[in-house]
């Protein structure tokens, strides 16, 4: 069909314009902002050009490195736990149960609730005095733990909150992936005498490897974007033991009032996320045409 050349522009133009103005342009501005020393509350005209000082300072700043390490460990632990749990549970619990639809509804609740509500609830659950967890420990005869006041347990707390929120997501993705596995192949394996473990390891898992990869990358990228839950749960504390990069950027900009430095650190985070995303893109081949079997 011959189309006037301006037709694509009509369809894609408005969306592209909005994304360019309010998303792409700010990102480029962040890069530019990193070259200035600008404090909040002062007029932009008074911002000082500092060249790459802020970038260099960010690279040298131990707080930034600590934050990066915290973020990497957080992402690694959460994603590993969520993937393992999600896949294991999906393998164990797949299959046609009539009530499955009802349970699936329950399982998507954690990710639909506002992240700050998630943060609030878990902050309450972990509370040293009134929290449910310490109450349960009391019932079991154990001493209460000052979850959010100690570095290690605070980190465990943010990990648990994230696992609670996102394992169901992995579970649902895996269930959907497993449901798409060709039953003829499974049946053939069964006839050949394969055990459950053999079938799972050699037939099922390879056939859902694509879903696993995409889910893994989605979780990994999202783990770097976590902010609101930790903001409410610990606000980076105690000290800066749970201060992941997103939160560090926020605090540098809006608590420390150093917008230039925050922008410089943002670029660092962006590079990490963009690299992961690029890998995810290549893997998922988004421009696949409608070549469904």
């Amino acid at each position: 069909m011959r189309r006037a050349p301006w037709v694509p522009l009509l369809y894609i133009g408005p969306a592209a314009a909005v994304m360019a103005v309010a998303c792409l342009f700010p990102l480029i501005s962040a890069l530019q902002l990193g070259f200035y020393d600008w404090s909040m509350g002062t007029p932009w005209a008074e911002a000082r050009w500092v060249g790459i000082d802020a970038f260099v300072a960010a690279f040298r700043d131990p707080a930034v490195w600590r934050s990066l390490v915290t973020t990497l460990i957080f992402a690694a632990v959460c994603v590993t736990a969520e993937m393992l749990l999600g896949i294991a549970l999906a393998l164990a619990l797949e299959g046609d149960l009539r009530a499955m639809a009802f349970f699936r509804t329950l399982f998507i609740l954690p990710m639909m609730i506002a992240p700050i509500a998630v943060g609030l609830t878990w902050r309450y659950l972990f509370d040293a005095q009134f929290g449910l967890l310490n109450a349960l420990l009391g019932v079991l005869g154990a001493a209460p733990v000052a979850w959010l006041a100690q570095e290690n347990t605070a980190f465990i707390a943010i990990v648990i909150a994230d696992i609670w929120q996102w394992t169901p997501f992995v579970f649902i993705m895996m269930i959907a992936g497993l449901a798409n596995v060709d039953t003829a192949v499974l049946e053939a394996a069964r006839i050949d005498g394969a055990t459950w473990w053999q079938t799972t390891r050699r037939v099922k898992l390879p056939m859902v490897m694509h879903v696993i990869a995409i889910t893994l990358l989605m979780r990994l990228i999202d783990a770097f974007r976590v902010l609101e839950v930790i903001y409410i749960l610990t606000f980076g504390g105690p000290g800066d033991s749970t201060e992941i990069l997103s939160l560090h950027i926020y605090k540098t900009a809006f608590v420390g009032q150093r917008l230039g430095s925050a922008a410089a650190i943002s670029v660092l985070l962006l590079v990490v996320v963009a690299t992961l995303s690029w890998g995810a893109l290549k893997l998922s081949n988004p421009l696949k045409e409608g070549d469904r079997a």
Partner: protein, 274 residues
């Protein structure tokens, strides 16, 4: 192949346990919202208590609640409508048209979806301040639309691909112009996708906290930001904050129970079929 009853029982049992794990924190939030300060401070595992609506009365009674609610609703609904409108057109354009720069647009759109919001907050704060968009609802809506478009386009793109091109060609042969083909043929066929996209977009706009915190003031504040204000240096007003949190959770809860299937389809569509 009949399953052993014990296996089925264990299956159900496991699902029940998982279901309980999922809903317990949410139930705790609601339960705490119904407790008085004294009951909250009473340590120990008190599962039985006399519920009270005092926290809700306090939260709703605060003069500003109506304004925050209105702000949240306006921002949520307007950004959802605009995102859907722009998004379905862009998805259709990407799916059906070949043009120079198509790959670049597609890849950029997908990459934008992964941007951490904290990274956007800083430059947007600066740019919006200079553009006079700070502390305004349109400014917030503009940002939410931009942030939600990538995912919406990606989601709807998958649905558009599933519409057979032959149907559009048949309509064109029957005399429909390209716009009418889109409007009359394609849109009705991607309704499930539109529903899922609407739910996701509204949910993000409604729940969003950090950008709203940065870009709004007392007049334009949304509900999540208002909730965070109950956390002070002195302590947390648990009863009230849980009440507000519960109120904020109600629309997503309603969506979830009504449209669970659409939501799951939306989530898994891209990954699984591909």
């Amino acid at each position: 192949m009949k399953r052993h009853p014990a296996a089925v029982g264990a299956h159900y049992g496991a699902l029940v346990v998982l279901g309980l794990i999922c809903i317990t924190p949410i139930v705790v939030m609601f339960a705490t919202s119904l407790k008085l300060q004294t009951q909250i401070f009473d340590t120990g595992l008190n599962l039985l208590f006399a519920p009270t609506l005092q926290n809700y009365r306090d939260v709703l009674g605060e003069g500003s609640f109506a304004r925050y609610l209105t702000n949240s609703l306006v921002v949520g609904i307007v950004s959802t409508v605009i995102t859907l409108a722009l998004g379905c057109m862009a998805a259709y354009g990407l799916a059906r048209f070949r043009f120079r720069g198509r790959t670049a647009v597609a890849y950029t759109t997908l990459l934008l979806r992964t941007v951490p919001l904290a990274v956007l907050a800083v430059p947007v704060f600066m740019l919006w301040s200079r553009a006079g968009l700070i502390n305004s609802l349109p400014g917030l809506v503009l940002l939410y639309v931009a942030v939600n478009l990538p995912f919406t386009i990606w989601l709807l793109y998958g649905f558009v691909l599933q519409v057979p091109v032959e149907m559009e060609e048949a309509a064109a042969i029957d005399g429909c112009g390209p716009v009418r083909v889109f409007y009359r043929v394609v849109l009705p066929l991607i309704k499930p996708g539109l529903a899922a996209a609407a739910i996701f977009t509204f949910r993000i706009a409604w729940n969003e906290f950090i950008l709203a915190l940065v870009l709004t003031d007392r007049a334009t504040r949304t509900l999540p930001v208002a909730a965070s204000l109950y956390i002070t240096d002195i302590g947390v007003d648990w009863g009230k904050i849980m009440a507000l949190g519960s109120l904020i959770a109600i629309p997503p809860l309603i969506f979830t129970f009504i449209a669970a299937r659409q939501i799951i389809t939306g989530l898994t569509a891209g990954a699984v079929k591909g």
